[in-house]
Symmetry: C2
Subunit: 652 residues, 2 copies
């Protein structure tokens, strides 16, 4: 009983943000708002007050953010972080005797009862507060106390009791012996803006040559940089650029019998020229790569690197660190399998090795190596096949020294595994968007991502295609499907990416029976025509420009779906932070026919009256429409433009 | 990094039962099943295994309960506690190399591939297991290993690999260096059966006299015991039995000006004859009370006591411990207020007193005193107006020494406050049932109570009325409403209670403008005729007998609602534990008219085919109905019997 403090009557629970009760940090990018919330109660009928206290890792000072009651004992406080790094935060609450007293005083005064005893109680409250008040209030309190003691006019006393000045002074008092503090100190990781808003373009450097048939180089990619930048991308992502294994190399279409000229899969990493810290000789040198990184930066783009922690059989690690692999009794190393799939050209690491500490250090040193070479964005290949404790340690260590580094998890696996990877540190994650097509699926999935606790740790990056995935609807729906799926990705999620140039040209021939491209660029060198007109590219360029102009499209959490009376038409509003322009978006999900619908405009979010006229301007077509109140009609022809991105312009 | 164990690849999260992440114990009564569950994953494609380990407080030995995969990475294990007291439990998981190996072995064998290398891997797995195996397997492992080493017949090897004996032996192996253990040790409090199944009857002893006008005594109550027992109640609960304050005593109908003869409210506790450890002289002596407790016990009933931690102005505490009260500057003690309500006859304790430790000890000693006098069930008056830390400490201490003690929280307040009281130790709680009338309200409320995390800590006790609450529907609906609301309480919740004899006789005259009885027994002595026939009493008796016969009605968690095509007809099934009889219940919510409906029988829960005929027997009327498949018709006349309680009898 001696260790309890029985006088702390306020109880705090159900706090947000939290990720597994503080085991992991919640995450927000600079400029994205955080709403702290908690259920806060006390016994009896006394008033309660609460605040969140927080501090940046680098500061010993806790800041105090007052919470307000949002109904049903739920309290909230909103805050917009403006500084990168790790924050700590705690929830505190206490009995607010001052407010309780004011309420009773006013009630009695209004009922014409004698308030002289009440005033004496108030004087006691102020005297206790005076002892705790900061120095800038040390003159004010004696003055207020004297006034209450000497006034003969009850109305004057009430005026003083209800004054803003006194309220402000009292709101700063903390009765430290009676404040309840929630027992967990939580962490919030504030990342740079790019973690929350990024636009990715994936290409194979080896296909970048101007001459068909020859192996592209980093210098070829430098030549293409202005074209990618012009489309509006800010992140240029390459499959692995390391030496490609020669042992068990795969041929075209994943064949086990490669031709001599076959270049192999870039994900089969390592040969006699080196491993994860080397570049494939035919792509160029480390110096060429440095020039490419610099060239991209000049055009406002960053290079993102693909890190696949796995080895070709001739990777130097296999000889140098045999203990990092699982050896079979027949003297071979176990290659990667996901029965019935076999990856004979890839050896996984054995994360149960007794030498795991050295393995972890070496894998981390790969990231450190590329950070030194100017790379700050890493797309991690198949993270779900490597031990979770490794990621948690590695990402934590890297970001402690280099908080600007962003990790994207390329995991397309079970929900609980996807979630775990996000919790343990990945800043962005691939998602199931690739297979969510119907209105119901999209609404339900976005609800899960943005309205449940996932919003605190899982940051989606929407990809309509990847070199591994050519979804059926892109095969069936052709160019229209490519455009529609792109617009959905780019407006539903502030982070999205495309694998091109196949995407712009709608190349969509599937490998029979599979959800994959045939003649896949993973196993062969391609040649792309970067000049030919593409409707898809034109729309990509236009939408990326709108994303840059409107902050409403630079966050993922600010989405609300609008009712429509046609299941082929999905509509949502992206509300603008801090009073900017909100955008109403409508997309025709039917790739083949014009569809129309009445959509229910959330006029309450726009400050528009239910019977008011206003104008919406389509950022895609430039056209203006006169709308009125809640229900308004839209119609979209997928052969022209399958979507509206509407900005509301109020009439004066 | 040295403190991490990188080889523990299994990750556990989302565990149940849990109450605020282990801050509070989950709760189950003896015989009620517990389903432990968790999300359990690992990287890659290896198989996973998991178990819950638990131990009783009194035992150093942990028991191991294997979990099974229930889909989508969710794992479960069911357990039925049979011993009272506090348990600890933990969640553990590990990579199951043996099962992973078996799967690969069989796949290769089925594909006619060579399995000799696989067999050698299996031998290695068995050799490691042999070192960890318990002594009863020390002969078996060498035999299995030798068999695998020497067999020339792959089929024989497969048979051994897949044998039950080997599986059983391997399932007991724990690779302690690679087991992940969830970082919180949880607690489960197992209470005696009565915590989960109890039937309460509330009466005022002072109204128990045979002669109208005279003050009833404990001896009068002894005379009534057989009548209460015959109705089927097992808990006889009295309002406070302590000396009633004489200062500021309230008169009839809560009047501030009592007549000399007015007995006052039993909740205004304490006068010159004593306080919370004394009995009101007119009721009798402590010896009389002991006889009453013994007499009830002989009839299978327990006496429940009302504990109201508050004082009349003439309670001895006020003089002996003035520091436990809040004194106003005018030298008076602050009486209880809930503006605009005033309770001039009641002084609350000040839980912010600096002498809180002595206050807590004294309040606990009240409970200890009555436990010594044979009381093991306490209904706590208005717990939400006393500090939460006090309850947590007090109930914990009392139940540590006396685990048989049951506390019922009489809190009708905000949801978060009700929940907190349950978390911090109350075994049962009053609920909002009293105001939940429509089918939608009842279904939604029961969902909240039985399907959300509330089921782990909040155990409802349904009361259709109390001396404080005469709900409008009992006024409007008369006898039919009394019967219907009783049947709902007694079949929706395994714990319920009534305030009688007003209930049996349908006395329902409200205080004008209030949801309260007029001429309330709280302020005056009544005289009840215990002989006159009452339809309500007859049905109470019948339903209580059914509750005693069928374990399906002795748990609250086993409810599933059945669809009906009439909003006036609610229907649910109470599934039986361990293969007993499940009961289908249908209730007409319309107090005035006969209502019928097709109800959708959950035949899958009953093992009945969708096209099968069967018989249901109504436990209320004794009638039999022949039913068929899912949809069957019921019809109930509220002037006869507003409900069916149906037992399914299969045809042979």
């Amino acid at each position: 009983m001696s260790t309890l403090d029985g006088r702390k009557r306020v109880v705090i629970s159900n706090v947000r943000p939290q990720v597994e009760e503080g085991r992991f940090a919640a995450r927000r990018a600079i400029g994205e708002s955080v709403t702290f919330s908690a259920d806060i109660i006390a016994d009896g009928h006394d008033g309660v007050a609460a605040s969140v206290i927080f501090r940046h890792d680098s500061s010993p000072l806790w800041q105090d953010l007052p919470m307000t009651h949002a109904g049903n004992d739920h309290w909230q406080a909103r805050w917009v972080p403006d500084r990168e790094g790790m924050y700590e935060y705690r929830f505190t609450g206490w009995i607010d005797h001052f407010t309780t007293w004011k309420k009773g005083l006013v009630k009695k005064f209004d009922a014409n009862q004698d308030i002289s005893v009440e005033l004496r109680i108030g004087i006691e409250i102020l005297k206790e507060a005076a002892e705790l008040a900061a120095s800038d209030y040390q003159l004010a309190f004696p003055r207020w106390i004297a006034a209450l003691e000497h006034t003969a006019d009850p109305e004057e006393a009430i005026d003083l009791a209800l004054s803003d000045a006194l309220q402000e002074a009292m709101s700063k008092i903390r009765y430290t012996d009676r404040i309840s503090v929630f027992d967990v100190t939580f962490r919030l990781e504030v990342e740079r803006k790019k973690a929350g808003y990024s636009t990715w373009y994936e290409l194979f450097p080896r296909s970048a040559s101007e001459s068909p048939g020859s192996h592209g180089t980093f210098r070829d990619v430098i030549r293409l940089l202005p074209k990618v930048a012009k489309m509006g991308f800010d992140t240029l992502y390459f499959p692995p650029i390391h030496p490609i294994g020669e042992l068990n190399r795969k041929g075209k279409n994943n064949s086990l019998v490669p031709a001599l000229s076959d270049p192999g899969s870039p994900w089969a990493i390592g040969n006699r020229f080196g491993g994860h810290k080397a570049v494939h000789p035919e792509l160029g040198t480390l110096d060429d790569f440095a020039e490419l990184v610099a060239g991209a930066r000049e055009l406002g783009m960053e290079v993102a690197m693909d890190i696949a922690y796995q080895c070709a059989p001739d990777h130097p690690y296999v000889k140098e660190h045999p203990q990092w692999f699982k050896w079979r009794p027949d003297g071979t190393v176990q290659y990667a399998e996901n029965p019935p799939k076999k990856y004979e050209d890839i050896l996984p690491f054995d994360f149960e090795t007794l030498d795991w500490q050295n393995l972890w250090q070496e894998l981390k040193s790969v990231i450190d190596f590329w950070i030194e070479h100017g790379v700050n964005v890493f797309r991690i290949d198949n993270p779900h096949t490597k031990a979770f404790p490794f990621w948690e340690w590695m990402i934590g260590e890297v970001r402690k020294a280099n908080p600007q580094v962003i990790f994207l998890a390329e995991a397309f696996t079970r929900p609980r595994v996807m979630e775990r990877l996000a919790k343990i540190g990945f800043n962005q994650s691939y998602t199931y968007f690739t297979w969510r097509n119907s209105k119901w699926e999209l609404e339900q999935y976005l609800y899960e991502l943005t309205k449940t606790d996932q919003q605190y740790y899982f940051r989606p990056n929407f990809w309509p295609n990847t070199p591994d995935i050519l979804p059926h609807h892109l095969v069936e729906g052709g160019e229209n499907a490519h455009i529609t799926r792109f617009i959905l990705a780019a407006t539903l999620s502030s982070n999205y990416g495309l694998y091109g140039p196949v995407y712009e040209y709608g190349i969509n021939k599937p490998h029979p029976g599979k959800e994959e491209y045939t003649d896949n660029e993973k196993y062969e060198i391609k040649h792309w025509d970067w000049v030919r007109y593409s409707r898809t590219r034109e729309i990509i360029t236009r939408v990326n420009r709108i994303r840059k102009t409107y902050p409403a499209l630079q966050s993922t959490w600010n989405i609300e779906f609008n009712e429509t009376n046609n299941d082929q038409v999905i509509s949502y509003i992206k509300t603008a932070p801090n009073g900017g322009d909100s955008l109403i978006i409508a997309v025709n999900l039917d790739y083949y026919h014009t569809q129309g619908a009445h959509i229910k405009v959330p006029v309450h979010l726009l400050g528009i009256g239910y019977d008011q006229a206003y104008v919406v301007r389509d950022m895609l077509s430039g056209e203006k429409y006169k709308w009125h109140g809640e229900y308004n009609y839209v119609q979209m022809n997928p052969f022209e433009m399958p979507a509206h991105i509407l900005k509301v312009e109020r009439l004066n």
